[in-house]
Amino acid sequence: MIAAQLRGGDELLGRLEEALLAAGGEGAHAFTTVRQGEHTRFAGTRVHQPQAVEEVQLMVTVDRGGGAARVATSRLEDARATGAEALRRAAALVPGLTSAGAPAEAVSGSFSEWDEDTAAWGAGARSQVASVAMTLAQAAGATANGMLSRVLVEMATAGPSGRAYVSATEAAATLLVRSGAGSAYRGDLSRSVERMAVEEMVHGALAEAAAARDPEPLPPGTYDVVLGPLAVGDMLTFFGAMGFTGEAVAAGAGAVARRQGQTVASELVTVADDALFAGVGLPIPFDIEGMPKVEVPMLDRGRVGAAVFDLATARAAGTRSTGHAHIAREEAPSPTPANLILRPGSSTTAELIEGVDDGLYISRFHYTRMVDPETSAFTGVTRDAAFRIRGGRLAGPVASSRFTEEVLGILSRTDGVGSQLLSQPIMNVWNGVASAPSLRVRGFRLGFR
């Protein structure tokens, strides 16, 4: 049995104290993140990429106004040296006109988002599930690819006004079954492996792939559609780019800066960044600046609401951080939506489909990219199971198609919201997750425009 041991709050907070002491205290802040991930990745007939991956970062920020110096290391034992180097580099910064400002009230305490079943979901058990999926797929004349993951997460923050630590589990499953020229996909992400219902995912994907095996080309045109939860969640990941961040507000760009209070979507649509919504996605109580996560209503029954802020953008805007500090690899720090959720309705997906006389069911998008943040235009292709809907029932499978649509246009033409949420990771966002139900949308355009 592979022993995964948590560092624990005492050790991580102790390292941060060392770092802050060396960094001079005033204007200094530090955090550390630890991810111990086990990933069982399989393809066809074998587990081809079983990985036990450890990622550790301790970062010290010294902000004296006019700029921030950050130094990070994977070596927790070097916390003191990391703090000292941050202080040394901060001395080289040119003092600016802005002030580091009074420290906001940070979170203090020890928190847990732990699930014992997830922590105990070992490599052997995951391999067994993968083997079953691959065997069943083969027996059906199909092939199965996917990944089953268990991650143990720790984060600690320390600054002038608080010390906080959280430990959490993370379970993820993805499964693609390819059958003939068709395919079907399942994916979910949760603190709890039990909530993901992995066995149902396997059987659901097998059945759907069998139904999707001989897709017909789809004529370009405008269709009434039911979008599956993963297609809807994909759209949510554009809310940052569409202007729901403090950075966009400061630049006067995007939805919040230009259309706050306006109705831009159906009143059935409520979208929030909500890291405290129990049982869905990857709840977490604070961000890397130690600021408490606040529910941010982005679209409230179709009306443009608020943006997410980190300390820097909140200071500039004269408001409070919403707990959305983020530092992505190879990018400047920026406030980032990280726990997006489109609130569920009361309909099953089958009921949404019943409301379409002649249209499509689209389970998933692929390689979506923003074309114009101001109009919310994005492009992508449909991927995996997609079916005609005729007379309120699923009919024959259809092939992948390109589309260019507007996120807000889709949400404004929504007349039905599903009840079941599925979660998916937001790429390049730490603890980033988008959770969404199915939607019924009138007039979705497919094909080159």
Partner: protein, 495 residues
């Protein structure tokens, strides 16, 4: 003693002897636990980044990662384990994790590697000026000056400027006797300017839009970029785009500029020729490919003018190295020869499935993750003539450059790219500017319609990050791209 690398220090956390001992210890442990093959990568990375964006204080950061990744082949099953390395060695933990991941796999397992002799050597990126030794004031003044000048331009509402540098030492040991030490250095820069007027927002970037551009070089590369000299043009073009008409839908002949051609190579050639994708190993996330391995030597990918070469020995390119991350020596490989598929971006395991040798394309992001087939330095072989000659040959059409948005399907067939700029070309001369340009097509039809490629004097090298795998890891790749002349392309497809 502090193990944090200071601005001018090239000290590594481990001496070469220590690194070799740790890596060998991991390999020996794996063999002792029954592995038939094992390799260990001890990777140390130090990265410095200074970004300034309007409305925010500049962000200056130094990041260090030190760790060990161990890959084993045990009773026909792969296993991989990685651990960060502190002063108290944890090499054994990574090896144990790799072995136990392999042991946990439900059989039967039949993975194997044909044995190869070990390969050893040392490599260091040539450079002139160490970017970590450049005074902080030089970097801050450069970036602050760019931002100040950009924002002083009428209608410019937002700007981002940045510089970046990364040095890494990648040590590799294998059960076949390899010992390799590579010290790789890269330096890059970025400038982006947004102009706004009456609700219209337009962006121009230099030297490229997606993460700027990064070369395997020292600070001399920043000097070559001449960011301050380019800024007025970039800002003026962003403003001019505000008043430009939208490029309408239709079919047109195009010349794609080097930056756009680089992305076209990346998305529709590099990824499509990754042999693990072709075999379906990446189907669950990144997807597959329209190219099939058995069609090598027969499948027409593009026109006679299209020859693509993977050459990770290319000096100055971000995707270059001496050995890939399973220890295979870098070598040039012709992927597409006069339009015909000739080879793939392959690993040892995938190449042996088609009876060929690896093209040394097995790469991993740092120490943490299991290597995958990634692009290396994949470039388009130049043709003849400068850009003016290519536009002259185009006659009437459009010149498009620099990506604004990009999307391609999971088989790397159906693509749609948006560009920052488009100029109408009349009788071989650039005339009117258009905004919100886009084009789309199907990969082999598109490359099959390439009539000409610009000459060596038009060739540029672009280094960019790329994502692949589950969990997703970054790949750092590069593409050599000259402008291309393509006939009959659908434009204005994004509406």
């Amino acid at each position: 003693m502090s193990q944090i690398a200071t601005a001018s220090s090239w000290a590594w956390a481990h001496s070469e002897d220590e690194a070799r001992a740790l890596a060998q210890e991991a390999v020996d442990l794996a063999l002792g636990r029954g592995a038939t093959y094992a390799d260990a990568r001890l990777v140390e990375v130090v990265e410095e980044r200074l970004y300034a964006a309007s409305g925010r204080e500049p962000d200056w950061r130094l990041e260090q990662v030190v760790g060990l990744g161990v890959r084993v082949l045990l009773r026909g099953a792969w296993g991989f384990g990685s651990r960060v390395l502190g002063p108290a060695s944890q090499a054994i933990e990574a090896a144990v994790a790799a072995v136990e991941m392999a042991e946990a796999q439900v059989g039967p397992n039949s993975a194997h590697l044909d044995p190869l002799p070990g390969a050893s050597g040392h490599f260091r990126t040539p450079f002139i000026v160490d970017p970590f030794a450049v005074p902080p004031s030089t970097k801050h003044q450069l970036v602050a000056g760019l931002l100040e000048e950009a924002l002083a331009t009428p209608e410019v509402t937002r700007a981002v400027a940045g510089v970046n540098a990364k040095r890494q030492r990648r040590c590799f040991a294998s059960s076949e006797g390899s010992w390799q030490v590579q010290e790789l250095l890269e330096t890059g820069g970025l400038l982006q300017v947004w102009a706004a007027r009456d609700g219209e927002v337009q962006r121009r970037s230099y030297p490229n839009s997606f993460h700027g551009n990064t070369a395997a070089a020292g600070w001399e590369y920043l000097d070559e970029l001449r960011l301050p000299a380019e800024l007025p043009r970039v800002a003026d073009e962003a403003r001019a785009l505000l008043r430009a008409p939208v490029l309408a839908a239709g079919t047109a002949d195009l010349v794609l500029g080097p930056a756009m051609t680089a992305l076209q190579i990346h998305e529709s050639c590099g990824h499509a020729l990754e042999l693990d994708r072709i075999f379906g190993d990446e189907a669950g996330f990144a997807g597959t490919s329209f190219i099939r391995a058995e069609e090598r030597g027969r499948m027409r990918y593009g026109s006679e003018a299209v020859t693509m070469i993977a050459d990770p020995t290319t000096p100055g390119a971000r995707g270059s190295f001496a050995f890939d991350d399973e220890g295979q020596p870098a070598r040039p490989a012709v992927l597409i020869e006069n339009g015909i598929v000739n080879d793939f971006l392959s690993s040892r395991e995938t190449a042996q499935r088609i009876g060929r040798s690896s093209t040394a394309a097995m790469r991993a992001d740092g120490h943490s993750f299991m290597p995958l087939c990634f692009s290396t330095h994949v470039g388009l072989r130049p043709g003849e003539g400068d850009l003016d000659a290519l536009l002259e040959r185009l006659g009437d059409g459009y010149y498009l450059d620099m990506d604004r948005s990009w999307s391609i399907d999971e088989k790397r067939l159906n693509f749609q790219f948006g560009t920052e700029v488009a100029w109408e070309v009349r009788r071989g001369r650039r005339t009117r500017l258009y905004r919100n340009a886009s084009y789309g097509g199907v990969t082999p039809e598109f490359w099959g319609s390439v009539e000409a490629v610009g000459g060596p004097e038009t060739l540029q090298v672009f280094g960019l990050p790329c994502g692949k795998g589950e969990p997703k890891q970054w790949g750092f790749v590069s593409h050599g791209a000259a402008p291309i002349l393509v006939r009959g392309v659908r434009i204005g497809v994004a509406g």
